[in-house]
């Protein structure tokens, strides 16, 4: 089994979010970047397939040289090889087209992406990728077993789980559940040292369409002060909701 894990480089969840250039660009100043958590669950599951079923695991990411530390971390965790597509990951359609090219050239039969990346939360890449490649697709995947060419996956659905049987080649949009948080691997010192020797191939992007442009970012409105209304004073509550909050 040859697995490709798509990882994106995202701000750590504790980062302070600011914008520059007239609110058109994310301000990366002082921001720590990490492997997108949904992708890390997928990477950890891929490592399990490597250890238990002898799978080969490659990781791919779209981005400039600044994302190399994130890719190295994936190699230190245990991925065999990495590919960086040297382009700014502008929108989901563009990214999926770039990734599709790598999948086609690399003969992968399982592609593990995250359900969404926690920066822009687009959630489009795995679906578009599966469509471009004409592969089977399971989104919001919370469990995956592979037996030969057959796959059994579970998907999170509203209020429950759905169990599906499908086959390789397959794309999944993974999330927590594929493995648990306590299963996530911390790279060890030998792994970090060995990552030095592992292949990180940089490929140039193919011509691809950017389907969307970012025009402006806005932060959610700052939280206002809390007004306490006495439980017996329903009239005042209704008046506040109607006249001030304008929600009823």
């Amino acid at each position: 089994m040859k697995i490709l894990v798509c990882i994106s480089n995202v701000p750590d969840t504790t980062s302070k979010i600011n914008f520059t250039d007239g609110d058109t660009k994310f301000d990366t100043n002082g921001v720590q970047f990490v492997i997108n958590p949904n992708d890390e669950f997928g990477l950890t599951r891929a490592m399990w397939f490597k250890e238990k079923q002898g799978a080969t695991v490659h990781v791919v990411s779209v981005g400039g040289p600044t994302i190399d530390p994130t890719i190295r971390k994936a190699l230190a965790i245990g991925a065999d090889e990495a590919i960086r597509i040297n382009a700014e990951p502008t929108d989901g359609f563009f990214v999926a087209q770039q990734l599709a090219e790598v999948v086609k050239n690399g003969d992968y039969n399982l592609v593990i992406a995250g359900r969404e990346s926690i920066d822009y939360n687009g959630g489009m890449v795995p679906g578009i990728l599966a469509a471009l490649l004409d592969m089977n697709f399971v989104n919001t995947c919370i469990s995956l077993e592979i037996d030969g060419e057959n796959a059994t996956a579970q998907r999170e659905i509203d209020g429950g789980k759905e169990t599906l049987s499908t086959s390789l080649p397959l794309v999944i949009g993974g999330q927590k559940g594929l493995v648990q948080e306590s299963d996530l691997k911390i790279p060890n010192m030998r792994g970090i040292m060995m990552a030095r020797q592992k292949k990180l191939t940089v490929v140039e992007p193919v011509d691809a369409l950017n389907a969307t442009q970012e025009t402006k970012f806005e932060k959610p409105a700052a939280k206002g002060a809390v007004k306490l209304v006495d439980a017996s004073n329903v009239d005042e509550l209704i008046s506040l909701l109607h006249n001030e909050a304008k929600v009823i």
């Binding site: 530390p69 230190a76 060890n188 010192m189």
Partner: protein, 392 residues
């Protein structure tokens, strides 16, 4: 204990001086400490028990012999990486860091540097994987700062050595599988011997009732006519310089480790001071608390620069014993002072096990004493700059 909210200060953007790999190493150790050490350490310190279950984790993450070459089970990392690992582990607890320091610098280092190839092959991979845990016996009941006066001795009996004597204050001794023991031969020359648990006449009683390094096991090493096979003598170096060479390596790690303890105390005090309201405002808004916090971050930043430069010198093989003494002395003293000040910032909460500060403070009382006392390191600097040793 409260959840571990630690955020490391980096006032002078020192991360810019580190390589991508250093940062990966540091962050991995930091993540491991948050996951494995912080949630349990207070309970073990309170019980005065070493959390043995973390030995496998320390081994797995690569905290045992990170700079030992890969062929012997290490990771082959540089000295700055080693320092950063010690910093992060001591951020969790000085006792856990002590275990890693002893294993790496006082057991693996002498076997790697003074041992022969058979000894390296026999012991190092198992020490790296945590299958074997080691300890280092230099200090004796009557000889602490002056190890040259040691009384532990061995006699050549033809096909083996006969070892007699006692060592005191030995970290890891109660559960160690092997001990690197320093003893004098019949001519009075100091040699290192590897003594294995189970050898007849060798016992390791535990030292109880410590108020410091409570989550680290300390004990004695007692040798009563222990027959040590001849192949267990470390052949490549003898004399006091041999154990002192190990101490150089461990002290270097401590110079970094102390920064970790200091950062934890500072970060806790800063967060608390911003949240704690007295007289209608956060105590962090008062000049007195700001003075404490501002001085803490200044001292931490200076200590970081000292450790980083020492790391560069060590990587080049140019760090002198006296340079290492200066950093160990300065950084541990800095950490201890910060722990004491930070404890006060938290008021009564500062003495509670809900926070890590008092544990760090008590731990650092050992750290400022072992591996050469605060006084002795000053005398080493004094001797170095004047050429006139005052301790002899």
């Amino acid at each position: 204990m409260k959840p571990d909210l630690f955020e490391a200060p980096d006032y002078y953007n020192l991360d810019d001086l580190l390589s991508e790999e250093h940062i990966l190493v540091r962050d991995a150790a930091r993540q491991w400490v948050k996951r494995e050490v912080s949630p349990i350490i207070e309970e073990y310190a309170q019980k005065a028990e070493f959390p043995k279950q973390i030995l496998s984790g320390l081994a797995e993450i690569g905290a045992f012999g990170p700079y030992i070459p890969m062929e012997y089970g290490g990771a082959g990392l540089d000295q700055i990486s080693y320092g950063l690992i010690m910093q992060e582990i001591e951020r969790g607890d000085s006792g856990v860091r002590s275990t890693a320091s002893v294993q790496s610098s006082l057991v693996m280092y002498p076997i790697f540097t003074y041992g022969n190839e058979e000894q390296r092959k026999k012991y190092l991979p198992k020490l790296a994987s945590g299958e074997l845990i080691g300890c280092f016996g230099l200090t004796e009941p009557n000889h602490g700062s002056n190890p040259n006066g040691m009384e532990t001795k061995f006699k050549d009996m033809g096909d083996h050595y006969l070892l007699n004597g006692a060592k005191l204050w030995i970290s890891n001794s109660p559960f160690a599988d092997i001990a690197v023991v320093w003893a004098k031969n019949e001519e009075g020359r100091i040699h290192g011997l590897i003594v294995e648990r189970g050898m007849k006449g060798f016992s390791t009683p535990t030292t109880h009732n410590k108020w410091s390094l409570r989550a680290s096991a300390t004990g004695e090493l007692i040798f009563e006519n222990v027959k040590v096979p001849k192949e267990n003598l470390l052949p490549n170096k003898s004399g006091l310089g041999a154990p002192l060479g190990c101490l150089d390596s461990a002290r270097y790690g401590i110079a970094w480790g102390a920064i970790g303890a200091a950062m934890d105390c500072y970060n806790t005090a800063l967060r608390y001071a911003k949240e704690r309201i007295q007289f209608g405002k956060p105590i962090a808004a008062t000049q007195l608390q700001q003075k404490k916090l501002a001085e803490m971050i200044t001292e931490i930043t200076k200590a970081q620069l000292l450790a980083f430069r020492l790391g560069q010198l060590k990587n080049e093989g140019n760090a002198t014993t006296a340079q290492i003494s200066m950093a160990k002395r300065n950084n541990v003293d800095m950490a201890l002072k910060i722990a004491r000040e930070a404890r006060q910032v938290l008021g009564a909460m500062g003495i509670s096990g809900e926070y890590s500060i008092m544990r760090h403070m008590m731990n650092l009382e050992s750290v400022i004493t072992y591996e050469g006392t605060h006084d002795i390191h000053l005398l080493i600097t004094g001797a170095d700059i004047t050429g006139l040793p005052a301790f002899k």
